[in-house]
Symmetry: C2
Subunit: 173 residues, 2 copies
């Protein structure tokens, strides 16, 4: 009724497309600029991007980038997700990152919508998102909750003592 002016859902200026090899350094830049990840986490995130670029569908990882027209470089965020091994139709969202300079434009929501629709198209029935209970993830957690995700599990002291793993889930059909 009162569309959020930042809502990009129908914006012709934004598109989400499969990753290309040329996107690699820009993706790394986006991850680093977010300021939310340690060097080891950045290395793991890039390892999955590289797996997807090198082995394609065989890697088990699907990577897509969000482009905003008129920006240079156009890539403002990316997602990495895939079928969880040994499950029947459960997908994991491994990484979702938006350039902080583009936050507040609904790009995270746009990327998550894209993943959910793609998972359903691939026959998936559930999307899981693992995240940390650390305070720096508070906004991220609220974003998942607003997007219909429920806390499915908590593993205490997982990342380190005092930093739990939270698993959010959403049934997609």
């Amino acid at each position: 009724m009162n569309p959020d002016p930042r809502d990009t859902k129908n914006s012709p200026d934004v598109r989400i497309r499969p990753v290309h090899r040329d996107d690699r350094s820009r993706i790394q830049e986006v991850i680093v600029s977010s300021g939310n990840f340690t060097p080891v986490e950045i290395a793991v995130a890039m390892e999955l991007v590289d797996e997807a670029l090198t082995r394609g569908a065989l890697s088990g990882y699907i990577v897509a980038v969000l482009e905003e027209a008129g920006h240079e470089p156009p890539v403002q965020g990316y997602v990495c997700y895939g079928l969880t091994p040994l499950t029947d139709g459960v997908y994991d969202l491994y990484w979702i990152v938006v350039d902080p300079a583009s936050q507040g434009k609904g790009f995270g929501r746009r990327l998550l919508d894209f993943v959910e629709k793609d998972v359903v198209r691939r026959g998936g029935r559930m999307l899981l998102i693992e995240t940390s209970s650390q305070q720096t993830y508070e906004a991220t957690i609220r974003f998942y909750q607003r997007s219909g995700y429920e806390l499915a599990a908590r593993i205490k002291n997982f990342y380190r003592v005092g930093d739990d793993k939270l698993v959010f889930s959403k049934e997609l059909r």
Copy 2:
């Protein structure tokens, strides 16, 4: 006080050692003979063994086999475990399998003791075990509980609808 006659803890006839390339086919035989795994699960289990054989410590997987002297072939079970990526000292027990012909001899307990001690030696503080809520895993679940593991999380309908993922955990120090 009343030692279980099946307890092999101090048996000189049993030893646990790192995997060798020659163990590959026997490990596969043990997994298949257990009757508990689907072809896809068997393929995934062997993929981890192959990773450990090919890439060693770089693979992130540690594989060890249990040998019983006087048996031909001597290998009666195996374990596969490793440091959980992005955690500070949490290890995952990925696979633990004993040949059904050797069950009831305490070999599962022996393998699990070995893993726990090795994890502590490597500086680990927690061991996680993921398993299925399916009825065929009931004895396995009781085994983990008897061994001091507590249910840390349950993800409903994870493997398939009606088949939950259970995560057991034990603090090791």
